[in-house]
Amino acid sequence: MEEKKLSVPGALVGALVGLGVEIAIRELTGFDVVKGILEIVGAGFGLIRIDRRIYESTVRLLNGMDVEPDDDYQRILRRIDDLTVDLPELRQSFLKLMEAGLRAKTA
């Protein structure tokens, strides 16, 4: 069997070329390749529960709103509107949660 030879200058040249390509891509496209690869690796390693975590926090924040005992659905909706006037995605999430809650209550 042929013995494999490791070349240190070859490895250094490879690393330099890789770095050069990474910098060139970042300069040309604005994408950080190394960070992107790390993100893919991270997504694969057990950090897939983020959506559930975001959902839990959304529910907790909605429950954490100060609601008066005599507040009705419309008034709470108005308050959510006021607080999320420039937060469209969050507003949608809140509305969906409230609708689901109402449906569960009426069912």
Partner: protein, 141 residues
Amino acid sequence: MIGLGILIRIVKAFVGKPLENTGLFPTRYYLQEALRSLDQDNIGEAIKFLKISKGALLDRSRWKLVRQLILFRCRVLRERHGKRIGYIEGRIEKLKIQQKLPWRWFRKRPTDRLTQYQDALALEKEARLLLDDYERELKDL
């Protein structure tokens, strides 16, 4: 699975904490940490984690949602402080009026009550200012 969870926690404790400021970890790690800080109403730390993961490529929409969650919490807390400020200001006004009434001159006055209210008012106003700053910071992100 339990073993894996413990292993992840140990690795996180030994490697995660010292290296998290480098920004080398994936966005989801920082988002998890930001949400954990948000659970404890530690807005400053949540913003710190959000700033570190600002250049997210894959989880941009999740990053935006977490930013909006923090902003929302800031507003809810600011509103709460606003209510307290209104209440304390009302109490101070009432105390000042009561002090002017003649019958109060013959009674022992709780001299420190007004000071206590004023101290609490200053703290509440400080907290509201801090939340205003956080909100501005989050909007600029």
